[in-house]
């Protein structure tokens, strides 16, 4: 059952990180910003995790 859960979650992440996402990750995606200037944006995933110290 754990296997099926994991498979399904991974399959869904695979859909989220589609070719468009990978293209933006490796080659960047050009977007015109508010100031009329174009910039090339590269997607990167960051995590910040924190927790209260255990008692």
């Amino acid at each position: 059952m754990a296997h099926v859960h994991r498979e399904l979650l991974h399959a869904q992440w695979k859909i989220i990180m589609d070719d468009e996402f990978l293209e933006a990750y490796t080659q960047g995606v050009v977007i015109t910003c508010f100031d009329g200037k174009q910039r090339r944006f590269f997607l990167r995933v960051f995590t910040y995790s924190a927790d209260y110290p255990e008692k």
Binding site: I16, F21, A24, C33, K37, L43, R44
Partner: protein, 367 residues
């Protein structure tokens, strides 16, 4: 004093103005000091250079200028002026960024209190009365009467506020359930994709081996699409990461590194460095920006009694200040997907070898 001679002497007398002890004085939060003007030539030139280089083989003057500039001004360490707390920003770049997202941030953007809305009620006094009427049960009681009196005697109550209130109209609005629940179309830009997984069955079952299962209702959005939406027309998006330092003015001390946002964290700066030092896309001279995606997810129960649940995937951009991201009314937390779950239903424990898989394993429909 001639002006207030009609006042009694006790009031007229000059009183000593009591001053708050220093320990109670609070300095309001402030943004970083403004950046010195950028000496970089405007970026549209660079874009022209980029397109010119792409379009024609001969080198236009703009391109040579840009190339020369790149050669003669290497990236260096640039320090911004300090603000009143002794905080300053340090960039590793050729020049200060042409755009400073912290320039226009005011204290009011950090909190939500000032924009409190009382829904269909025009003001707080009307809201308090309306709330009392609807929430106090059907029978009169002494406690309820006391609460009404407390509302009317309260410091926030102003009788003039409720003089014009149209109570019937407000109650109609409250009952009609049509008021701005969704800001956008409910299904706009959402994609529904079927998910296929392989489920293995053990040798002891009637049909061993892997079988395909299709889950149809996986809703998700394109991350790049969300990025596009968030970057266009957004003044507050940080394109250039920096190091933040603290050096109080009155004591000579080495500057202390301060971390308070993703865009001044070592991980972000490292990634920015890597990107700037990586080979450029062929024929393109546009500035390259790291976008910090921060995903978060937690399954949530929707009802107190029942099985309905959702498993949303949220995403925020680390290039936005945490103070802005933490303000719900700015809607900076994006929904990216709603995960589907596999739910196990056991029709009868006695026959685990049953091959009736469809009743054994059902995919929950949460949407």
């Amino acid at each position: 004093v001639p002006g207030d001679s009609h006042l009694p002497l006790a009031i007229r007398r000059q009183r000593r103005q009591p001053r708050l002890p220093k320990r109670f004085c609070d300095t309001l939060p402030q943004t970083s000091a403004a950046l010195p003007p950028s000496e970089q030539p405007d970026l549209p030139d660079t874009i022209n250079a980029c397109t010119a280089a792409l379009g024609s083989p001969q080198i236009s003057p703009a391109t040579t200028d840009g190339a020369q500039l790149e050669r003669c001004s290497p990236r260096r360490i640039l320090k911004s002026p300090r603000n009143i707390f002794g905080l300053f920003r340090q960039y590793h770049a050729r020049d200060f960024p042409s755009h400073d997202p912290e320039e226009l941030v005011t204290l009011h953007e950090m909190w939500d209190a000032s924009c409190a809305s009382f829904g269909p009620y025009p003001n707080q006094s009307s809201f308090l009365l309306g709330e009392w009427f609807w929430c106090e049960g059907v029978q009169k009681s002494k406690r309820s009467f006391k609460e009404l009196v407390d509302i009317i005697r309260g410091p926030e109550f102003n009788p003039a506020d409720i003089r014009e209130t149209k109570w019937d109209l407000i109650d109609d609005q409250l009952g009609s359930d049509h008021n701005e629940v969704w800001m956008d179309e409910p299904d706009a830009n959402w994609i529904r994709t079927p998910v296929t997984i392989l489920v293995p069955f053990s040798d002891r079952m009637l049909h061993p081996g892997a079988k395909e299962f299709v889950i149809s209702d996986f809703y998700h959005r394109s991350v790049v699409e969300i990025l596009r939406e968030r970057v266009e027309n957004n003044y507050h998006f940080h394109f250039d990461p920096f190091e933040l330092y603290w050096q109080p003015g009155h004591v000579p001390s080495p500057a202390t590194r301060v971390y308070n946002e993703l865009y001044n964290s070592p991980a972000f700066l490292e990634e920015h460095e890597k990107l700037q030092n990586s080979p450029k896309n062929p024929g393109c001279d546009l500035p390259r920006v790291v976008v910090g995606l921060m995903f978060a997810s937690d399954a949530t129960q929707l009802t107190s009694f029942g099985q309905t649940s959702l498993w949303p995937l949220y995403m925020q951009f680390g290039n936005e200040s945490k103070y802005r991201r933490g303000k719900p009314t700015l809607h900076l937390c994006n929904h990216v997907a709603y995960f589907q779950k596999v739910r196990l239903c056991l029709p009868s424990i006695s026959c685990p070898d049953s091959d009736d898989i469809s009743s054994f394993l059902t995919i929950s429909k949460t949407l």
